[in-house]
Amino acid sequence: MTTTRREFIKTVGAAIASSQIPPQPAAMGEAAAPLPPPGPAAQQSAAKRKVIYDQDNSGPFGTDILGTLMMLQADSIDLLGITLVTGDAWMKQEMAYTLRLLEMMGRTEIPVYPGAEFPMLNTKEEWQLRQQLYGGHRLDPWMGAFNRANGGPNEIKQLPPPYDRPANLKAQQDHAARFIVRTVRDNPGQVTLYAGGPLTNLALAIALAPDIVPLVHEVVIMGTGFHVFTNAFNIFFDPESARKVLRAGWPKCSIVTLDIAEEIHEGDEIAPGRRMIEEIAARAWSPISELFQMHAVEPLRRDPNLHFFRMADEMIAAQVIDPSAFTKSEEMYVDICITPGPRYGDSMFWAKNWQAVPEAGKSVSAADRRVFVDPRQFYLGPPPSAGLVRVLQEIDRDRFKKLFVDLMTKPIRKA
């Protein structure tokens, strides 16, 4: 029986390495090739970037947790709060992991807010029927909290090592959406919303308080895609919320698509013969070292064929911490299909300059020919309410990997 890639990663670990490669001694890290210096945003600046971290924080390890660790470790980030949303796991289970992770990292000053337990309209049973009716998602069959084997929204499974036990730390009473509204209003123009899960909490926040939209500094969202596939989990888990949030008209909305997220995987080599996760497991401080050792390196040894997962949430973190890691982006219109058919949750993109006509005599590249079409002949524009967003399109892999490894291996940041 084959296990799907994503299930495998979620159950066994996040990366793979050939078992011939021995664990890297700490000293090896010092010999790493010099990489370009970090961008200005990554450097210590007087004003730290204020961030609300909205996440479907599915433990014990994986892209959600790694995004969290990056944000906890970055000195330039003022983490105002963590808000949780059902997605990869049920919200209450995510809460158990998140609170304990903050304890282990010694960052109990960060408030954690419970968010939406269910998507706006989507349900597990209808999703399963849709799969029967229209066919399942062959490339990315992950259903997160709705996975067939999962229990209900109130089931909290015991936390494995190195979490070991439930946290003493408690969650806040207030709902995530209200915390977002309050915090954005109190810090106009300053708050970055990191949206690493389904967009239910953000949709609720802007439905309650549409006035916060122009007050947000930037929203960074993970999901959607053109080439790898158009149907991304964070979107198709709650397409109605995604449509609402992507249409909102934020001052700045950056999207990490699956296309770019697929370019780097957690177990990639960072130098000849050295895999990223082994490097980190060897050099990181506790508890990051234990997390990598137990949930990445050891699973790899047991199964050398284990697939790596893409670094989706880590890329959102990079965009927040050091946007210079991204070398190309393009403004585009985006909208989400919410018709409950086979394309429920699909993302659709349109060029911002769809009306542009090439200058007379100017040659047009094959890539641009799609866009530069006479608008008198064809309508290639977006639907009336589509949102204008900035799609991150190219990443400096070395810089991104260096940022990631640096954050994972630096001493654990103090509160």
Binding site: A116, M120, L121, E126, L204, L208, E240, R243, P384, S385
Partner: protein, 374 residues
Amino acid sequence: MRSPSDLLAHSAMISQLAQTPPGPSGKKKLIYDQDHRGPLSTDTVATLMLLQADKIDLLGICTVSCDMWAKQETAYALRLLEIMGRPEIPVYMGAQEPLLNTKAEAQMRYQMFGSRSLGNEGYLGCFAKDAAGRDEVAPLPPPYNRFARIKAQPEPAADFIIRTIRANPNEVTMYCGGPMTNLALAVMLAPDIVPITREVIFMGGGIHHSTSSVNVYFDAEAAKIGVRAPWPKFTLVTTDLAEQVHMQDDGKVDAIVERAHSPIADLFREYEQKPQRANPQRRSFRMPDEMMAAHAINPSIFTGYDDMYIDIVTHNDGHYGDTSFWDANWKDEGGELSGQNNPSLKAGRVQVLNGIDKKRFRELFTDLMTRPIK
């Protein structure tokens, strides 16, 4: 082949509607959520009924965009409370926009698929082509005359709903006279309120007269959340029932203008009697919100209800916001209908009011409108 009306007849329930027992205070605690169109409309008249009823403890008024934009409705609601001498009732402005529906899309759907074809069901409220903008607030005509001195509460309507239901478990009746946007937001933010809400009363949808109405197709996604939630009791006034009584039937308006106290008499004279006299062909509106208010005040006026399943179409096409109903007594008994008459997978349960004692309704209504201002 069985028609929907056969199904209704088949499932007709014996009326079990006893007078709803009052709460500990002796009054029914009610949150009034309304797309409060001024100066006078089915919305406003229902507000007057609930303000005048003795047995209603009106905990708060929530507004929601639909018939008008929420800001304009809030202006009308606040000033109405002032001229009725009830400034102590808090007003909460609710959702200014539907969860997802937009004016541009509503207009384009009508172009592409045609408007809703029955009577005035094409009505789009504040999404109408020439309607004012979302943040415009027009001056209030007589007898309102000016904007209110009292202000709306700073809290969003959805938060007020959550807080109030939690503070009064099993006691609060939710009157939803507009789209269910505020209620849907409350349910999404706090699913725990669903089992401790005493009753939800909603107006929208229909089986015979029309398959939908503006409260549903203005925000179909919110309606879907609202009807699917497992409320202890969800009561529906359909367009079918609302069509049975119109405002100008049986000389109600003239009787009210003659006998009512100010400002109710002024409102009815100005906005019902005068237009009707100027244009005898004018078709006065049905009384949907007044029926919901009547159900909140004295449910025994209704002859009974049909237990049904309900669901909402959210496809972005000509059927956006249609309601679907199924007989709640449905059983798959095999045979030729097997698998052909089941409700949708996640359909909600609803008590569809199926008849009204018109005489008692008229008495209740006229009494509330003409008694001294409370």
